[in-house]
């Protein structure tokens, strides 16, 4: 992809974009100025709907549609930015916040204008301590220049943006757990419905959007829905920031149009598999999706929301973890299960107890004890979690395990037969 096609990682084409002066020199906040002066909030929602922008946090839900669910005529409303980036293998929001922070802030303001909100909170994972403090300084800078704050651009639109630091809990990336945490409670998911658009922060209509989603808004409102739809696929318009990690020569974020194949990402942009090895398996959405055997069919699959289910997985947050042929998939299951067992919030019994027992059985498989029958037991425990929890964490926990057993049975059987 030519450099000029960066939509979100524009700092890679325009060095110094993290400085407000530079951002303004390149037309920064002009879109916001034009929109709040010339367009109604409903017009903005219609443009975002028409663009086909889909939420980048993992679910891929159409952003404009999500906004249109806000309960009419109930105020105050809130915008909450999900910057709790914690999925193993995901590090895209961090780059956006560090290197292109003003595009995010402009996106937040556009979202708040459309949602008729006057306060936005950026819920940032606690580990991003330095980043969060830098972001606060940039908010203050933008506010001092009249780009955030009261009566923007001579209108009655006002917006205050605050950073709220989490404190180490993966579950807070789930939007209702995030809202609970922001309200000063344990970060545990709520029963839905009601969805946040009806009853969100403090029980008021709330938009919760991911960092990358919001960073797409300034270019969409500058160039229009049609331009955005000219990139990517019909069902997944635009570009995606793919976080590429694991056994590749050049790990890192790569922004490419939706529909780019795994092969292009891994071999062209990632520099291929090091040490003369071959690719064995791919986790396309961090730890939270079925693991794929890296067949030619899979490698040539376009990375788009609609395409991944056809080969038995999901695009999710598009955190592509690549594993070479030295990797034991039973060990991968041990690693992902350890993560989910640690991060289960404990609210739903099937998830809390199920992840505990899955880990227990996996450790038994990896230990010295006789492993006979343990793979079937693992499958049975995993299936006991399926469809029984409030939020998707329990569901995510079983995906790499069940798909791993199904697609890489010999790796598991080897442990059962005494390693």
């Amino acid at each position: 992809m030519a450099a000029a096609e960066h939509v979100v990682l524009r700092h890679r084409d325009l060095p110094g974009l993290d400085r407000l002066e530079t951002y303004l020199e390149h037309g920064g906040f002009e879109t916001l100025r034009r929109v709040v002066r010339e367009k109604s909030p409903d017009e903005v929602i219609e443009i975002v709907k028409a663009s086909g922008l889909r939420g980048r946090g993992g679910a891929g839900f159409p952003t404009g549609v999500k906004w249109s669910f806000l309960t009419p005529d109930v105020f105050p409303r809130y915008v909450v930015v999900n910057a709790d980036e914690s999925e193993p293998g995901t590090f895209k929001d961090r780059e956006i916040m560090e290197r292109n922070p003003f595009q995010l802030l402009e996106g937040i303001a556009l979202c708040a204008y459309a949602a008729r909100a006057r306060v936005a909170y950026i819920y940032c994972r606690g580990e991003f301590w330095d980043l969060a403090h830098a972001l606060e300084a940039r908010i203050a800078e933008a506010r001092a220049r009249g780009l955030l704050g009261p009566d923007l651009f001579g209108t009655d639109f006002s917006l205050e943006v605050f950073v709220h630091l989490g404190a180490g809990a993966y579950i807070c990336g789930e939007e209702t757990a995030l809202l609970e945490s922001l309200e000063g409670k344990l970060g545990q998911p709520r029963l839905r419905p009601p969805f946040p658009a009806a009853k969100g922060l403090y029980g008021m209509p709330t938009v919760v959007n991911n960092v990358e989603t919001l960073a797409n808004l300034p270019p969409i409102l500058e160039h229009g829905a049609e331009w955005y739809r000219s990139i990517g696929t019909a069902e997944s318009p635009g570009t995606k920031v793919f976080s590429l990690s694991g056994h590749v020569a050049r790990p890192g974020n790569v922004e490419l149009p939706f529909g780019t194949t795994f092969r292009t990402l891994i071999f062209e942009h990632g520099g291929g598999i090091p040490n003369g090895r071959n690719v064995k398996a791919i986790l396309p959405a961090g730890a939270s999706a079925p693991i794929l055997a890296a067949t030619d069919e899979v490698l040539d699959t376009p990375m788009a929301y609609e395409a991944l289910p056809k080969v038995g997985s999901m695009l999710g947050s598009a955190s592509i973890i690549v594993m070479d042929d030295s990797v034991d998939v039973a060990w991968v299951a041990l690693k992902t299960t350890r993560f989910f067992k640690h991060e289960s919030c404990g609210k739903c019994t099937p998830c809390r107890e199920g992840t505990y027992w899955m880990l227990h059985v996996l450790e038994r498989l990896h230990g010295r004890a006789d492993g006979a029958g343990q793979v079937d037991l693992l499958q049975s425990v995993a299936k006991g979690i399926e469809g029984k929890c409030l939020c998707p964490l329990g569901e995510f926990a079983i995906l790499p395990v069940l798909s791993g057993i199904e697609r890489f049975r010999p790796d598991f059987a080897a442990h059962e037969n005494g390693r």
């Binding site: 994972r125 403090h133 989490g166």
Partner: protein
Amino acid sequence: MSDSAVRVGVLRQRHAAAIDAILARYPADQKRSAVMPLLYLAQHAYGYLTPAAIEEVAGLIDLSSTEVGSLVGFYTLYHDAPDGKVRMQVCTDLPCALRGAEDFARQVCANLGIRLGETTPDGAVTVEEVMCLAGCDKAPLFQVQDESGIHYRENQTVESALAWIDEVRRAHGRG
């Protein structure tokens, strides 16, 4: 700071402006939202969250100490025990493990003569494993939790980590 100095009211006296700034971010009738930033403030003021610090935070936002205590237990970045002065927390989750983070953590500990989760005998550094830090392309990496906050050290080698630990221990020795 000795425990006797940590009593209810001290935080308010010493950090009044910071407390007011935190409370101002949230609606006046939603003071509870301030609990997480206030716990960070107390943790950095006292080194860890003592029972008195928890009680004081609870008092600032009209919660019970029990409610605040349960939050301290739920979130991993709050600490209610002193441990080492500096926490070195290595991510060993899957993407990092694929790039050698488990060996890295093991070798660092072997060089220090401690096991993962333990503190160096001088009380300077506790080495722990943590879950994904969103730095998978810069593994091995670890985060440092100290009095000043949380900071990342990325693209590490065993040598670079040990050199950094040496520095921390020397500074600790000087008191």
